[in-house]
Symmetry: C5
Subunit: 325 residues, 5 copies
């Protein structure tokens, strides 16, 4: 699908119905174009990117490629080319999926391109285009900022979801640790590490937009990109905090395993230490000697059993004193 | 609440009662304004920040936002915008809470803004404003330094508190290690890591104030910001030391767990090694054979029991010799 | 083997049959040479590199040396000398083998040199030379890019292979962990670390080609080297991800070992805790006293055995209640 | 205590008796002053630092403060202010104590200031002042170098002491590991980490003295500061080596714990594996059946006991074959 | 011992017999001197270094000092002073010993100085001086390169030796792990870490020789120093690889310890789980009741023993089914 429009300050936005109209406004000095390709066919892509805008073939390859490309910004003198990664909306965050968004920012145009039909940051910006006068008045760099801002904002719910899961797992580790908990913790740690690897190059990319002297970025707009940069720093910070908590929970888990081993061993030791000596006494009096002291006494059995009870209780009392349980 | 005043070198400070008076002194060349918004309503904020001082909308968003923002300093040519984090005074440091303080420093004004009604660093500076002549004479950059200095000073008691807790936990780990101790240690480690994440960007922010060529910061004032910077370096240093001690205590804890397992196992082994052979001997003489040697001898029982004692004591002596206990 | 050809924009490529023809085109301003030495003899190397092109003796030593040299780019004013590493095509990636490729890029020549007879990136480029007009028209820097691009592309299947192996090992760790699994994991981790060490200097080398002002590299070609650089960054990223997963799998493995120890200990403890007291009771009634209560009662045996069953079942019920199994 | 003197090249040193004489030489162009405050009272400090030399109030605060300040060098245009840390001479290095030394270096003066009455580096320099002509001839920067050189030299014995202790602990870990050894190792590791934190900023401080363009430091003197810098690099290197050895010793310790657990378990297992089956055989023949095979045979007992011995020795032989002991 | 010679391009080398001849060639513009002090006495050192060449006293101290000095290069305007570290040839690499080599490189002289009588890199260069025309023609910087090249080449056999030892240890860890293996691994790891600490500053030193604008180093010679730099990078790379393998071997070792604990525990558990119930059954029938079922039956004993065998075999079958052995 291709959506396109022409924006002029303080004038109504012209939405195009066909892609042919785009060419008429390519050289306009008074306004700027926004063309967004969403899950466009290869022919459409080549028509717009190669034939209409004459972008560098390497960037077109990047747009068409299905593989993961690291986020970056490249300067092609007359325009800049940006790769960013949106979060794929999913029920579950155990598999962190990202969608690639490609943006071309020129003096008087913004071209966004994605192989996914539901690129939310782009859709949200289209919806706000009529409501927020800044989007149509401030130029393609501000529009690009709006798209990236929406894209970054979608990372926060993911972090929140992870935080909840971690809290739940922390409790579970303390109450009833199971191998499944450890697996979930490792999964989560892995997701957090992936998130950091997705965020770090985007942070660097936005940092270059605020710092480098791209002629396409108005100095005024830099404050806005700086705002996105601060968001990304914050997300990376949160990811680091989560990773620490997960590591702590894993430490508790591993310790609890060895604690329960200790507990089990104590029970075994106490039982053995009480009954092995007692069984030995019983064995002694079970020997088949003719003359066993007290064996013929009428209360001999009771005396012996009483002695055994004394030994057993003494043992228990000793363990209590040693604070074994 | 909004507090505001006008400072002129060597003149009494003019405290304003209404916010309308602020506008009259906005363009003063002889003195400078301090306006502090403490838990102000949104209308008050917009009135002061947007309408009176005409600050950038992004900074006003930052002031109003309840979420955590990373500490930073942004240069808006005619003023600089600072985000800093004060420690929330709490009985307990297990949950490290911070309060955001926003500062605008211009040529002739300082605006401080916080969503918390009790921002101690600001309150303390207001209290000293009449006592310390430097605050009213040295310009808004020195006033900003005074606020940040108070803010940083509040971190030291927290570090001290943590240090005490750690010492207590170290002793507890050596005397009677319990899972609760491990949890406390992990909590503490987590707090220390959070503290480092709060301190690090503030350190960088203050470093930029001492280094970058902000026209709002007088070269003379840099020594004072450098002083705050040294404090923050020191706090980070202490946090690193604490983290090392906590890690050491955790190592001792985990080792003590396995040491006690060893101890328990030894008891079990000694008991088994003594009584299993003895019980076996008793079992042998308990077999129902007609002809068992010495079984009809009148002292057979005593001989056998004596032999058992010899075996048992020999075992004990052997363990003593192997230094098992 | 020595292959060589002369390329001129928009003209058919002249393939040379003997190495003597090379000298005639050395000073051509209109086109450029490509000479590729594949497993050439020492005499051939000296003839081409030393006598024909007069390259620096240190670079010739590098070309002839069989040892591993770290990837790099060196500027010799009139040409640049590049060392890169191709993956040795192998059935198995447990031993990560690399082949060294040396490239000289001058104003009007490209010399590639390898001690291996099957340097695939070079062969693939020779095959495409007639099909892709860019290779013969864009100069030696683009040709150099084509060779390096093929070289880097060969790393991806290796990463994929590793990814598959890791997934398989992860499952194996969860289902039936064995010491062999741990060894495979350590092997894999080791291969990944080696891969990172091979990739990192190549990344830096390509980065210098995009950044430094080498006169041999046309500014237009930098976009292409930047594309290779992005690939290498991506490969390093993937290697980091794989390393994290391997570490996680090793954690699960080690934990599973201690979990099974726990399980075994529990069985031992349950058996001991049930049968030691029961054997003791049996021992008590096996003592040779004349007067043992109920021993002469006709149902005494049944009462006692019933009592034992009650004790045993009670123990089992207790363990069930404590959730030991 | 305040010591002061005036140095002129090739002239005898003038030692002052009262602090009043200092002022007379403040503006001397031909020589330079050294004033050293050792455990001076607050009044003396203010008299010298504030009233005589008119130093910046922040530096005077630093001199008076009892707390730990990170080592640094600050440039105040007409003088530089240095904070360094000397080792507190102690019998024991388990508690690493440092003493702060403050130095002001101006064109024609050196002021050293410490709150401790026995600042050895300063005392040693005073003692050498008459013997080493370079101290009185080469200016205040060389004198400052001499003090810092003495200060750094005092770290080496500490490192040596630590090295000895570590060697002793390494042996102790191999021969008779005890929890006390682990605690000592952790203590030592902690001391080494503290040492690194004390050394690192001093290294950076001295590095700035050799690198930055301080007008108070003669280019010739930089070689000498570079010498101190090399010493500090060496100390940090040694500290890293020690930390590695301590970590290795801790690894051996922890492994030895689990090795002894293994050994204990083996003894238990061997004893149980031999005597449990034997006791079972004895139990079988102890059953009260009327007809037990061989029970009435006159050698039945001997046959059975012989069989038991065969089983027991067979077990032992099996364990030997499995190399269990 | 002092060896010295005068080199002039395309002329025979003049070897000096006495140190007096050196002074005559100090100011020669046509050739250059090489003076090498090998285990020279203090008087000889002072004569050459202080009186003849008038080097800076700090560098002479460095030459005379027996302690370890970190590798570095210092610029003294008219000459540069280099500290490098050669490997001490030893049978065993468990104690990594280095020999310090000091080099002074001036416009027309090279002075090498070492406290060891057998500094191999210097001796090897003296031997090649007559064979390799480049050594006498290319100036003192090339000669310095030749010495450093020999010095660095001696590290490779050490790395190879370590690699062999590690391979041997890896096998030993898998076949019969013993505490001695762990100690060797830790020793080796420690040697590798020491090696890295010796190599890292030398790499930095050589890097400065290729990069900084030392007037004593001809731009042409930089390629040669760059070659040494590449060697050092490679050695550091190899050291990193070895460290990883050692760490992996230690992981396998520690895991094998806990695996064998598991194995031992299983044997104990199987034996106990089989014989404890059987002994209990024997105990039950050993009770002294008058009326024990089947006790008077002529096949009672056989029935009971058969029942016991069924129980025992059932247990074994159960363990087999659970895959315990």
């Amino acid at each position: 699908m291709i959506r396109s429009a022409f924006f002029e300050p303080n004038k109504p936005i012209k939405f195009f119905k066909t892609t042919k109209e785009i060419s008429d406004y390519l050289d306009s000095k008074t306004g700027f174009l926004w063309v967004s390709l969403e899950a466009a066919t290869d022919e459409e892509m080549l028509l717009i990117l190669r034939d209409t805008f004459k972008f560098h073939p390497l960037t077109i390859e990047d747009c068409q490629s299905a593989g993961y490309q690291v986020a970056k910004v490249d300067d092609f003198i007359s325009y800049i080319f940006i790769i960013a990664h949106a979060i794929k909306p999913a029920q579950d965050f155990h598999q962190l999926d990202t969608l690639e968004l490609n943006l071309y920012v020129g003096e008087n145009f913004l071209v966004t391109c994605s192989t996914d039909p539901h690129m939310l940051p782009v859709e949200k910006t289209w919806e706000r285009v009529n409501k927020d006068f800044r989007l149509s008045n401030f130029g393609p760099d501000f529009l690009c900022h709006a798209v990236l801002d929406n894209l970054v904002d979608e990372y926060m719910p993911l972090i929140d979801q992870m935080e909840n899961e971690i809290e739940w797992l922390e409790d579970s580790v303390l109450e009833k640790p199971s191998p499944a908990t450890l697996e979930r913790l490792l999964d989560l740690k892995h997701s957090i590490m992936s998130l950091r690897r997705v965020i770090a190059p985007q942070r660097e990319m936005v940092n270059r937009l605020t710092r480098d002297e791209f002629t396409q970025i108005d100095p005024q707009s830099r404050y806005y990109f700086r705002d996105i940069y601060d968001h990304l720093v914050r997300i990376q910070d949160l990811a680091d905090t989560l990773r620490d908590i997960v590591s702590g929970a894993m430490d508790i888990y591993l310790n609890s395993t060895s604690l329960r081993l200790n507990e089990v061993m104590k029970v075994l030791t106490i039982i053995s230490t009480i009954f092995l000596p007692l069984s030995f006494i019983a064995g002694v009096f079970g020997m088949n000697f003719k003359y066993i002291p007290t064996s013929t006494h009428s209360l001999g059995f009771y005396f012996t059993v009483f002695g055994m009870i004394v030994v057993g209780v003494g043992m228990l009392w000793y363990f209590k004193w040693r604070k074994w349980f």
